[in-house]
Amino acid sequence: MLPFATSGSKVTPRHHVSGYSNGYPRGGTFELSPHRFQPRGTTPSFRRRRRLFVRLGIIAAVCLLFWMFLRPGGGSLFSIFSLGLLSSGDDFQLETVRYYDLSDVQGTAQGWQKEERILLCVPLRDAESHLAMFFGHLHNFTYPHHLIDLAFLVSDSKDNTLNVLLENLEKIQADEDDTQHYGEISIIEKDFGQKVNQDVESRHGFAAQASRRKLMAQARNWLLSAALRPYHSWVYWRDVDVETAPFTILEDLMRHNKDVIVPNVWRPLPDWLGGEQPYDLNSWQESETALALADTLDEDAVIVEGYAEYATWRPHLAYLRDPYGDPDMEMEIDGVGGVSILAKAKVFRYGVHFPAFSFEKHAETEGFGKMARKMEFSVVGLPHYTIWHLYEPSVDDIKHMEENFGDTSSQWEKDKTEMQNIVLQEKKKQGGGAAESKEKPDKLIKAQREERKETRKEEKKEERQPRRGGQQVTEDR
């Protein structure tokens, strides 16, 4: 057949399908002819895919169930819907809002019963060799460990301080004994090094001393501002080089319920030097002489205790110690030493800090005491409650000793006789044999002192000046 003939056959005859050949329309007549349903020969698309939908539904249901069994932790509908659909499956929620009422953290005399949290601040620099001793103290604290948060500042350290510190702390937190675990532990790293070099002025030895104190103040402020939280009731500052201190020191100091409180700090010495010596001379009561002196000084001048030239005639906490005195006896002071300070957190919250500038002619811990007094907080020292600083003749010490050898300023003479008197007094009592120390820590100290006497070296020196005897005014720049 020819192609045009086939194409011609597709032309629909006009009057054939729509009706009968007689011309009447088909509609309206009763008709049972099967071809009436012919145009709907295809099933509706939804019905056609119904099986597919059913299958998908079954698969989805199985998946859900499967998921439910696979995730035993998040078995509830809740977790399936929120985590299964939204996130990749971390099963924790974030808390972004914190609410604290500061009147709950005022600090009271019985903090350990009221679950009051203490922030323990420890500034460190090249302190690797002291850390073992420090962790011994940490282990022995009787204050509930989980209520103590630790904060360390490691600055400009050239030794292995940081790693030793980390290792020891991680060991504590992994201890099997839950009561050994401490609260929040922060290690703050910050180097102030560059500034030291800028500030050190060789033309005047004491200028360097003043800026050293300012730098230490700065370090303390950085540590505190990074670690103080709204849930702290107390802040305890402690140096690593404390050799002997009662295990109960936190409770002992807290019991006094003072805003700022410090113990007396002495250090043991080899027997030929007198056996013991006042160490921390930064805790003192203000005197008229010192106030008059301060008025004559330049705005940036810092009176640094311990490098004698001017006599300020301040009563020092250290020299007032009586080994058999009442350890609970209190004494109001104006300057404080930084070896071991317990303060209510609100002191720091209200803004008292360690001035890294000359505040009323003082810086660092002494300025801290001054500022606390300015803001009408109680600042108290315990003359007969003693902790013991490590004795180590440093290069600095020896140099200083040589520099000042034979120096007989009035303050030094006064200091020396006072110290010797105390030593004599103690020896008399020891000789008597009857007097027994009433404090456990004091016994410990004595035992250690005995040991030291046995192993002491054959150094020969007639005299040794107390490391921080007398005062010196130095000027920064």
Binding site: F46, E189, K190, P230, K346
Partner: protein, 372 residues
């Protein structure tokens, strides 16, 4: 007549209806159960602390109620790596916005929300007194916080929010503007304010804050790019000029007037006046019976002047103030006592100066205070 209806019915209950039904069920279930648990992106979760005992400037993981809390981890913070630069967004620097709040203003909150600085880098800190007024302000603040942090879009949600209640009573002075600004009421009022600011600052600063923005609760309008704009100058302390919008009945239209008079440059007269005062007395600004002749930034505004124009300042106000965190870390605080005869924010500028940090002002960059 029995018409076969079967096929018609089948057609009506078609699977599309079923599918829609199931989908609706899932949606209802999802919104019923899932909406109470909004979630954060993995990136945000990664920056969260693992224990509730952690710096409040970071969110922390909520532990499941049954689980026993583990001993807190040993956490290292290297403050040598906390940068403070003039491109804070690029360097992902954390900003702490601190606000002492006695009254809640909705406009203040709305203004915070419209800040364009990435909200995941902003921590808000509030301190409210513990009295009736404080409770009312807290209730409103809490409502807005829940709305944003819980139900708001993630980009609106702030990194964390800290609310503190003061542990001391504010001096009994009415909050009425006229009474509040009386001279003899100023010292106790500002001393209490200084304590509130210090409490807020030193408990929230934490180890990873780069900038601290002080913004009073009654500052209701700032440019959205406030943080970036101020940080751009890279100054230790920088204060914009605080104005107030009011209805000028003479001109019969809205007008503006200077508001914060604590941003000033010192004068020899004020210095001399200070010397004549007792050790605990303070110098105040903006009072007729104490003319100090200081140069006030409030009056240095020039219409159409360069918004980046900088001037050195000796005293700052706290209405809006951007401070490098290092200044506070060095110890610069708001003295609640007479410090060189200055108190609170003005004393703060002086203390910062003593620590070697100079304050700067932007006379042509304006923010607006609420009009009572």
């Amino acid at each position: 007549m029995a018409r076969p209806m079967g096929p018609v019915r089948l057609k009506k209950t078609n699977p599309l209806t079923l599918t829609i039904g199931i989908a609706l069920c899932i949606f209802i279930l999802y919104f019923l159960l899932g909406s109470s648990a909004p979630d954060f992106s993995a990136a945000r979760k990664a920056t969260a602390a693992s224990h509730p005992l952690s710096p409040p400037t970071s969110p922390f993981r909520q532990s499941s109620p049954g689980a026993k809390l583990k001993a807190p981890p040993v956490t290292r913070y290297n403050l040598n790596n906390v940068t403070i630069t003039n491109t804070p967004v690029e360097n992902r620097e954390n900003v702490l916005v601190l606000t002492p709040m006695a009254r809640f203003y909705q406009e203040h909150w709305d203004n915070l929300l419209q800040l364009t600085y990435p909200h995941e880098l902003i921590t808000l800190g509030f301190i409210l007194p513990k009295n009736k007024e404080g409770n009312a302000a807290y209730a409103e603040l809490d409502k807005q916080i829940t709305k944003t942090q819980r139900y708001g879009p993630e980009k609106d949600r702030f990194k964390s929010i800290i609310i503190l209640r003061q542990d001391f009573d504010p001096p009994l002075i009415s909050q009425d503007e006229a009474e509040r600004h009386k001279m003899q009421n100023q010292k106790p009022r500002r001393a209490a304010m200084a304590k509130a600011r210090n409490s807020l600052l030193f408990t929230t600063l934490g180890p990873d804050t780069s900038w601290v923005l002080w913004l009073d609760a009654d500052v209701i309008e700032t440019p959205p790019s406030l943080i970036q704009d101020l940080a751009f100058h890279n100054k230790p302390l920088i204060a914009p000029n605080c104005f107030q919008k009011f209805y000028n009945s003479e001109k019969k239209k809205m007008d503006e007037r200077p508001y914060d008079f604590n941003n000033w440059q010192d004068s020899p007269t004020a210095q001399k006046l200070g010397e004549s005062l007792g050790a605990d007395d303070i110098l105040l600004e903006g009072y007729k019976d104490m003319p100090t002749y200081r140069t006030l930034m409030a009056y240095m505004y020039e219409d159409g002047g360069d918004v980046h124009y900088e001037i050195p300042l000796d005293g700052v106000g706290g209405t809006a103030l951007l401070v490098k965190a290092d200044v506070h870390r060095d110890g610069a605080m708001f003295p609640p006592f007479s410090f060189y005869h200055l108190i609170e924010t003005e004393g703060f500028a002086k203390m910062a100066r003593r620590l070697g940090w100079q304050a700067t002002g932007l006379p042509n960059y304006k923010v607006y205070h609420y009009n009572e």
